[in-house]
């Protein structure tokens, strides 16, 4: 009940944000030079045909009127219609969303699988050479352009070793899993350095705290202390860091999906910008924004679940 009311309140608070986003996105995308009707009709298009098509898209109306139409439809849950494919934008987006969600979730899981053990190792051997290495090496990951990492992973794992498919999304769950490895690794490599550092720092803070000293005094083993006393407490602060950065990385899926030809909403967005498919660009941006908001909300909920002291307000 406590969670439900909180979630509802947060969702309501999201409405003005989404409204603002719709405003920005709408006017931004309409600033892009190039006419969807002309793009669609091609070089032979007569002015008359272009005008007719523009009328059917509602592009002949003044911009503010188009915006009101857009908002009116949005209020009914209608994301508009793709000019380019002549289907509902929501249909396109929902067909593409799974690949993006797979990517975001598996990248996050992969990043956690890599960074938690390393951070624990570094924190428990604080100051050692191992600690230094674990802290320094991932810094390299901060400056790696996602698309370049993607290309290099394709080169090594896809072309030389032939271990994983280099593009596409597979046809079943097993295929999805195999296809998602390289893209997820690409995204995870950008995430791990940040995670390792925040987790290590908070673990050290916890390890120094009185209750861990108490636990030591009780004669608990190092492993026991790490597992039951420090990890959860360290996770509390790292969850926020994770949330912020996952939200950021949602955007980089745009590029990663393109490199690996994943049929996600990122590639859909890029294609739609090229095609001047306004409705789809708007829809995808809104979906991206909702994802960010949802990730932030999940972060806060996780925070509350991990730390009984946190009040949801």
């Amino acid at each position: 009940m406590r969670y439900l009311a909180y979630v509802l309140r947060r969702l309501v608070a999201t409405v003005p944000v989404l409204f603002g986003i719709s405003l920005i996105v709408f006017f931004m995308i309409h600033l892009v030079p190039g006419d969807p009707a002309k793009t669609l009709l091609g070089i032979r298009a007569t002015d008359k045909a272009v005008a007719a098509l523009q009328k059917s898209f509602g592009l002949d109306k003044p911009l503010w009127e188009q915006y009101l139409d857009f908002m009116g439809r949005l209020a009914h849950g209608d994301l508009g219609r793709s000019f380019f494919y002549n289907v509902d934008a929501s249909e396109l987006v929902s067909g593409r969303l799974p690949a993006t969600l797979w990517l975001v979730v598996s990248a996050t899981v992969l990043a956690l699988l890599i960074s938690v053990p390393l951070a624990v190792l570094a924190a428990s051997r604080r100051g050692s050479a191992l600690d230094q290495v674990i802290r320094a090496v991932p810094l390299v990951g901060l400056g790696m352009p996602a698309f370049w990492v993607g290309i290099m992973l394709v080169l090594v794992f896809g072309l030389k070793l032939r271990l994983f498919p280099v593009s596409g999304f597979g046809d079943d769950v097993a295929g999805h899993l195999r296809s998602i490895v390289l893209p997820a690794l690409t995204v995870a490599l950008a995430l791990t350095p940040i995670l390792i550092r925040s987790l290590r720092t908070s673990m050290i803070a916890v390890l120094d705290s009185d209750y861990v000293v108490t636990a030591r005094a009780k004669g608990l083993t190092h492993r026991r202390i790490i597992l039951s006393h420090t990890l959860r407490n360290a996770a509390v602060s790292s969850v926020t860091v994770l949330g912020v950065n996952v939200a950021y990385l949602v955007g980089s899926t745009l590029v990663v999906e393109r490199v690996f030809a994943l049929p996600g909403i990122g590639t859909l967005m890029l294609d739609s910008i090229f095609n001047r498919d306004f409705a789809v660009v708007q829809a995808v941006t809104l979906v991206f924004a909702v994802m960010v908001v949802a990730i932030n909300l999940l972060t806060d909920l996780a925070h509350a679940a991990l730390d009984p002291r946190v009040e949801l307000s």
């Binding site: 032979r44 494919y85 280099v166 095609n275």
Partner: protein, 521 residues
């Protein structure tokens, strides 16, 4: 520009058994198709491609990725011959032309059924072509000469034209005039386009937009025994390298357009075959004559002389192409090899510029598509070459869609574009390129030479091949001298296929037919 390659008709192979078809072509196809068929039947052919289909509306669409798909389902009365220079009957059996060259009478092939089982009749033909010529902003321009279509009996179609019109058969062979069931077989147009019905070797399965499109074998196909394949799946893989890797790794069988940069490397791979099919693709530099100083023929000639085409062929095409001498291409009938096109000659370039209104050079802006490597390379090569003439080239990068609009609206100074033929007659391109009143403002350059325009009109009405050759040669020579475009090079269509694939051929118009393709296990 970025003229999407549109395609006509079916491969000759499809017509095997028709008396009208050349026996040579037939034999050749039997050989490749026959071997394959003996060795293997069935299979799902996977074609990887850089872009998705747009729509299945054959009367409206200009995208090759769409055309190449629906051509497997929809057939026209005629089809382009394998050399790309003529047409052969497909759903038609024969035709007669009246004395006044205005009335064409067609006999339809018997026993052809649509994939829904409904027989194909003259009513369907009338419906389809009437629909094609009444669209707006589509391919109706090909049918402008048509005055009326009649269906006196189920197997006869009579077409009357407004004036004698030589390219009619070539026009009818275009996919836009493909035969659909009358009234969309009782469906609404939108419903029909979601799962089109035609007489072709394959039928609709599904399309996941932005990802893949699948067709399956038409068991009722009139050319019994074909196709060999169970199904064809086009998968969208935008990255060039990934497509090549999928061919090498056996995940896909045909790569629709491996870049020339990868051709050499691919040839060395086991299990991979690279084909370079003769094409009708030509690249040009456009110069907008509405902008000074491009109204000056000497300036245009100077620029044309300053381009080292051999070097472009070598660096951009990796040698896989030829230097262009005419705006028509070798794969097109009436192309004149003797056209004295302008070739690289810096001395002459300087001479021409000295004679021009801007003897000391000028500053201009090259409109380039961002993200398009060919465009970028040509822009930079031109920038570097023209520097020697004292011409400063600034590069304006705009994304492809916007670049397209700017070219079409003639809001550019100098730019790059290309063309491929859609039909087996030069009229389409010639009209487009040199007749400023045909809607395309002479390839969006504003070029206007009354003598050339008169020759174009005369060639449309002449049915005498010798006369047409004379006229088209004169047009090509004059156009080259006027340097309304700087022709760059002719390039082939590249395809990388798995060696498991047999019988795959792309026509000079860019399209391909899959009913004779086989896939070994």
């Amino acid at each position: 520009m970025r003229k999407p390659i549109a395609v006509l008709a079916a491969v000759t192979i499809a017509v095997t058994g028709l008396s009208a078809c050349g026996s040579g072509a037939s034999d050749k196809n039997d050989t490749s198709g026959g071997n394959g068929a003996a060795a293997a039947q069935g299979g799902d052919l996977v074609i990887v491609r850089p872009g998705d289909s747009v729509s299945m509306d054959n009367t409206m669409v200009f995208s090759n990725a769409s055309i190449w798909v629906f051509q497997q389902m929809l057939e026209s009365l005629y089809e382009v011959t394998p050399d790309g220079k003529d047409v052969a009957p497909l759903l038609a059996e024969s035709h007669t032309l009246s004395e006044d060259k205005l009335t064409w009478t067609f006999k339809l092939k018997q026993g052809v059924k649509f994939s829904n089982g409904q027989p194909m009749t003259s009513a369907d033909v009338k419906f389809s072509i009437d629909k094609a010529r009444s669209t707006e902003g589509g391919w109706e321009f090909l049918d402008v000469a048509i005055k009326n279509i009649d269906a006196p009996d189920p197997s006869t179609v009579v077409i009357t034209t407004k004036y004698p019109w030589a390219p009619l058969l070539a026009d009818l062979a275009n996919f836009s005039n493909a035969i659909l069931p009358k009234d969309y077989a009782g469906k609404s147009k939108d419903e029909f386009l979601k799962a089109p019905i035609g007489t072709g070797p394959f039928v609709w399965d599904h399309w996941t937009k932005g990802s893949e499109l699948k067709l399956v074998k038409n068991p009722k196909y009139w050319d019994t025994g074909k196709p060999s394949l169970d199904s064809v799946t086009w998968k969208l893989v935008p990255d060039d390298n990934s497509r090549n890797v999928q061919i090498q790794g056996g995940q896909a069988h045909i790569n629709e357009s491996p870049p020339f940069s990868s051709v050499e490397q691919l040839k060395g791979q086991p299990g991979v075959k690279v084909d370079l099919f003769p094409s009708t693709k030509t690249d040009y530099i456009l110069m907008n004559q509405n902008e000074k100083p491009y109204d000056d023929v000497n300036v245009r000639r100077a620029i044309s002389y300053a381009i080292d085409r051999e070097a472009l062929v070598k660096t951009l095409l990796f040698g896989n192409g030829e230097v262009a001498n005419s705006f028509l291409m070798p794969g097109v009938v009436y192309y004149d090899k003797a056209t004295p096109g302008i070739q690289y000659d810096m001395a002459k370039a300087k001479e021409e510029l000295a004679k021009s209104s801007v003897p000391n050079g000028f500053t201009t802006t090259f409109l380039a598509s961002s993200g398009d490597n060919t465009d970028q390379a040509i822009a930079q090569v031109l920038q570097s070459s023209l520097k020697e003439l004292g011409i400063t080239v600034k590069i304006q990068n705009v994304d492809p869609s916007a670049a397209h609009d700017l070219q079409n609206d003639m809001k550019y100074e100098i730019s790059h574009s290309y063309w491929t033929m859609d039909i087996a007659d030069p009229d389409e391109l010639v009209t487009f390129a040199v007749d400023p009143d045909a809607g395309s403002k002479s390839f969006f350059t504003g070029y206007r030479n009354p003598a050339v325009i008169a020759d174009v009109k005369a060639a449309q009405k002449s049915f005498d091949p010798a006369e047409r050759q004379r006229l088209y040669s004169r047009i090509q020579k004059q156009a080259a001298e006027d340097a309304f475009l700087a022709f760059l090079y002719y390039s082939p269509f590249s395809y990388a296929t798995s060696t498991k694939v047999k019988g795959f051929v792309a026509l000079p118009t860019g399209n391909y037919h899959l009913e004779d393709v086989t896939l070994s296990k």
